[in-house]
Chain length 226, copies 2
DNA sequence: GTGTGAAAATGATTTAAATCATGAATTAAT
DNA sequence: ATTAATTCATGATTTAAATCATTTTCACAC
């Protein structure tokens, strides 16, 4: 259990007890909201298992995918200085999360410099990640952006350990990919078709197999023009 | 002096002394680098005065503008968990910064929960800011994006207090605006011409006067189609 | 199995923005 | 002041991707 490991590493025994007493476990099915933008911040979530998309409402009232999350990640930490969550979190698959009330977490932060450092590092990583995506979105070529998204899927969700080699353990919808990449789902589909033609990936229904991760990485870093 | 105020608010007297003894002041001219991507992280910077652009190298080897900074902001905090700065900072105007070595700053963090909270809030804000920009970039209309950039210039650099009302105190180049907006400088220039035609702004050379901030805000939030 | 709805896939058309090309204006340098 | 260099400005052309319109495939229910 991710959160338990983290707290036992960072806290003295008495505070580990505080965590254990105050934590709650929640289960979500695919499509369910873990929390929604605008809700009052009650606490912080640790993803024990599952895949999640973090959404934020844009000016046009549609939700944009801000990041993907999976096992071992923190949710709701953007609420620190806000009264209300600035983003929503929605389960993409069956998900288990551990919840801890904000005041309890803040108390633990006060007595655990290790936890402070962990959190600062986590947020620093997230900041770099967000800025990296920003750069990627500025790059105008959708092919590059979609290659980056595929690599992101590998990074966050990983490969299925079953028969087929390099079959993504979870594939988000083409529409979600378009959302992440700032493009349309038709463009995503066409681009995936090109990648398939070039033997970079293969498609089995909506499922995606990464045939040539090296080549995909070259496309994603702009080292391959076609 | 921004950093002095911050530390005296957050620290007991003895630690304020540690800050005062260890801090250094640096001066930069427009175009000079404060630190560069890839350099070993030595410490953290507080902007006392001046305008700065924070850059990050993209795949195509060109620098992309990640954020703008001005008086009262922190630089170099992305280096917390990294050995080397993941971004560069370049002065846009004459700039004064206070530098404090990382180990000194971390020591102060350990004894000052106030400073921890301040930093967490600052980073939380930055994260939200980055995600907001991400959303904005996903929105495809360059006109909206350029309106957002103009408002950003108002927010970060403010208006000149001289004769002309609502004259931006500092205008970045069209090329820099294009960089921030993920577009070309021609598109920036054309869009500014449209804004001028619609009496939203006026142009005096490269300088920009915001004539109708309300209307600009409507364009930026997509509430105005033309 | 058959039916229904959703998601994926493709083709045709339009459109907006990038690119290319050139010229004007502003700034800096001698 | 004159030249050079940089930045700003516009017009013409091309191109890539959005939009629109259908068709196909897949998944789930009955």
């Amino acid at each position: 259990m991710f959160s338990l490991k983290l707290f036992s590493k960072c806290c003295a025994n008495e505070w580990l007890q505080v965590f254990k007493v105050n934590k709650e476990t929640f289960y979500f099915e695919a499509g369910q909201r873990i929390f929604s933008e605008g809700e009052v911040v009650k606490g912080i979530y640790f993803v024990e298992k599952g895949n999640i998309k973090v959404l934020s409402k844009a000016h046009d009232k549609t939700d944009k995918i801000i990041r993907l999350a999976s096992t071992g990640m923190i949710l709701g930490h953007r609420g620190f200085n806000a009264k209300r969550y600035p983003v929503s979190a929605e389960a993409l698959t069956q998900t288990i999360v551990t919840f801890i009330p904000l005041n309890v977490f803040l108390s633990i932060l006060k007595v655990s410099p290790e936890m402070v450092i962990y959190l600062l590092n986590f947020m620093s990583d997230e900041l770099q990640e967000a800025e990296l995506r920003m750069k990627n979105l500025i790059i105008l070529d959708p092919k590059v952006r979609i290659a980056i998204i595929l690599l992101k899927l590998v990074e966050v969700f990983g490969y299925q350990k079953k028969e087929v080699k390099n079959l993504l353990s979870f594939t988000i919808s083409r529409t979600d990919m378009a959302n992440m990449g700032g493009t349309t789902y038709e463009t995503v589909i066409r681009t995936l078709a090109i990648f398939k033609r070039d033997k970079v990936i293969s498609l089995a229904g909506k499922e995606i197999v990464i045939l040539n991760e090296k080549k995909l990485r070259q496309i994603a870093t702009g080292k391959m023009k076609d």
